[in-house]
């Protein structure tokens, strides 16, 4: 008789075919690897658990944009039966991050991505900073660069220190003399 078994791992498009033939009392095992171009890539789902207890199931191609997650996947001991725990990311922030990763995993021209990114960062201040922290923790370089650049642009758009402080709610804890001293020290940069 023939015994056929098939096993498929996440991204392999090969099929291992195992034949066991019984010839008299001898068993012959033949292994054949068939590369099948018709099989579409089976993507594995990754489960992420946020700090507030919610679970997100996403394709590995999207999750792998985070270098932190990529390392966790490689390390078997990191996953629990519930998926990978992300201690520093809440569900709100993670869903926004996933939105970014989904768009950047999709097929789109550079121009289209730039336009999409510009719209993506039109959010309130606390979200931007949450995204910076999340992108840093999850090690997603594209998102970190984008969010840092957004904040930098806002700083550059301010005409003076007062405006920067107002924009970001920074409290001026210098005495007038201290501030005057600092301004004198680097006078050239204020001109």
């Amino acid at each position: 008789f023939h015994f056929l078994s098939r096993s498929q791992s996440n991204s392999l498009t090969t099929t291992r075919v195992l034949y066991k033939e019984i010839h008299n009392s001898t068993a012959h095992y033949f292994f054949r690897r068939i590369s099948s171009l018709k099989l579409t890539k089976m993507s594995k789902k990754i489960v992420l658990k946020t700090s507030d207890g919610e679970s997100f199931e996403i394709d590995d191609s999207i999750a792998l944009q985070s270098e932190t997650i990529a390392h966790l996947i490689g390390d078997d001991s990191a996953s629990t039966s519930n998926g990978f725990p992300l201690a520093n990311v809440t569900s709100n922030v993670l869903s926004t991050v996933i939105e970014y990763c989904k768009k950047h995993a999709s097929v789109a021209s550079e121009e289209e991505l730039k336009k999409w990114d510009a719209e993506f960062v039109k959010v309130d201040d606390s979200t931007i900073f949450d995204l910076i922290l999340a992108a840093n923790y999850l090690n997603i370089s594209g998102l970190l660069d984008l969010t840092c650049q957004t904040v930098a642009d806002k700083i550059a758009a301010c005409k003076d220190a007062d405006e920067i402080r107002a924009t970001f709610d920074i409290e001026n804890d210098f005495t007038p003399e201290e501030e005057e001293e600092l301004r004198r020290e680097n006078q050239w940069s204020f001109q």
Partner: protein, 453 residues
């Protein structure tokens, strides 16, 4: 009471709509590394300004591992020097950990030389970008680069403009990928050759030479080089180096870079140019003056580049090619951009015979203020027009209409596979009239689209 007073003081400026609706200072709460990441996106000048925001911000700008400054941004050269000294020296027990140092310096004769000690300080352990540009400076004022530069293990990108590369014995730049050298003075030919060939992963090299840089024969020997661009520039007025008066007779360029794909000569004035191992060459730009005079040298040169797929030539190069026609066969060439003087148009059909598989042709008919000596008549039809040429663009914005029409009708009439013919018109020409005449042209290819812009 004091607390509320200072809070009011801080919020006296105009509030930008929408951004700080939370009323909480989230940016200052970010860790140092992330604020540094944000400040990296700003110029050094903009990030220095943040020092007055609050105590938290007082010294954050000093943590940024990038210094990008032009001496013109500070009130004078001495202020520039003291700022950099303080930035590099601040709070670091051992050497600086700068990733990138970019300095654009304008100095006069009497200003002190400082770049050497700065480079010595930053050259290890993490420097990846070094860009030193003195702008136009006379030869006497050129600063000599320190030896520490040549053994900077982590350097990826190096730009040196208007400096003096003194004598050095050993070069160890194991990671250097791109190098740009402009108008520098070298100790001798051998040192420049050593610098280029000692970089094992150098991919991109851009050299702008000056005739008095102590290099006559330049050997570019590199295993990894994929892109090379060479040009000749001038010197400072005080140096009185005039290219027109210079004798380039003994100058030569010898290139041996088996992985070289892209080559540009843009006014490279050496009369001897030899390229060996040109098997990987795919795109060549021969712009400005090619300056090859000897027929044998010319033939060898064009034969050595005859495997390219894409070529761009100036009208001077076309004139040079005319003297050695028929040119070697460029069997792989599919894209050609050529500038042609109106008087040389007669040679165009025979010239195209060297490109049997040409698919796309862009012609720049230039300097048409010269009146033609005789009307051009293009009759010979080269192979590529019969079998492969699918796209022709005539950039003729200053050309007289009769010449344009003659060239356009030549292609329309004879190119069997032509799909698109694009014609650029000057402001003075009547688009509608030209278009009407063009559309009336007999066309060999039934799918030919004529576009006027």
């Amino acid at each position: 009471m004091e607390e509320s007073f200072s809070k009011e003081k801080g919020k006296c400026g105009q509030r930008s709509a929408g951004f700080s609706s939370a009323g909480e200072d989230m940016i200052s709460k970010l860790p140092d590394s992330l604020i540094s990441q944000i400040l990296l996106c700003l110029s050094t000048k903009e990030s220095v300004r943040t020092s007055v925001l609050s105590n938290r911000w007082k010294s954050l700008w000093r943590l940024i591992p990038v210094l990008d400054l032009a001496s013109s941004e500070l009130p004078d050269y001495n202020a520039f020097v003291s700022f950099i000294d303080s930035f590099l020296g601040f709070g670091r027990e051992d050497k600086s950990c700068l990733h990138k140092l970019k300095l654009v310096i304008h100095k006069c004769e009497n200003d002190q030389s400082c770049v050497t000690r700065w480079i010595d300080f930053v050259a290890t352990p993490k420097l990846e970008h070094l860009h030193v540009d003195f702008g136009l400076v006379s030869r006497e004022c050129m600063e000599v680069m320190p030896l520490s530069l040549y053994v900077c293990e982590t350097l990826l990108h190096l730009t040196l403009n208007w400096v003096s590369l003194g004598w050095f014995k050993s070069v160890s730049l194991p990671r250097l990928k791109t190098m740009r050298l402009e108008s520098n003075i070298y100790a001798n030919e051998a040192s420049l050759q050593l610098l280029i060939s000692s970089c094992p992963v150098l991919e991109d090299l851009n050299i702008v030479r000056r005739p008095d840089d102590n290099v006559k024969v330049l050997r570019v020997h590199s295993q990894a080089l994929t892109s090379l661009s060479m040009r000749v520039g001038g010197g400072h007025d005080d140096d009185e180096v005039y290219i027109e008066d210079f004798d380039f007779e003994d100058f030569a360029v010898l290139i041996d870079a088996p992985r070289l794909k892209y080559l540009t000569f843009d006014y490279e004035l050496s009369p001897s140019k030899v390229i060996s191992n040109s098997g990987s060459l795919t795109k060549v730009n021969l712009l400005g003056c090619l300056c090859l005079w000897d027929d044998l040298v010319k033939r060898k040169f064009f034969t050595s580049i005859s495997g390219v797929k894409d070529m761009n030539i100036s009208y001077d190069t076309f004139e040079i090619i005319k003297t050695i026609m028929p040119l070697a066969q460029f069997c792989n060439l599919s894209c050609l951009e050529a500038a042609v003087l109106p008087d040389s148009l007669g040679s165009l059909p025979r010239f195209l015979e060297s490109f049997p598989n040409l698919k796309s042709l862009i012609l720049d008919l230039c300097d048409c203020t010269l009146t033609l000596r005789e009307e051009i008549r293009l009759s010979f039809v080269p192979q590529c027009l019969l079998s492969s040429l699918g796209f022709v663009e005539l950039k003729t914005s200053c050309c007289g209409t009769p010449t344009k029409m003659e060239v356009a009708s030549y292609f329309a009439k004879n190119a069997v596979m032509l799909k698109k013919l694009v014609l650029h018109l000057s402001m003075l020409e009547e688009k509608s009239v030209v278009l009407r005449d063009l559309l009336a042209l007999p066309r060999r290819s039934s799918t030919c689209q004529i576009i006027v812009c």
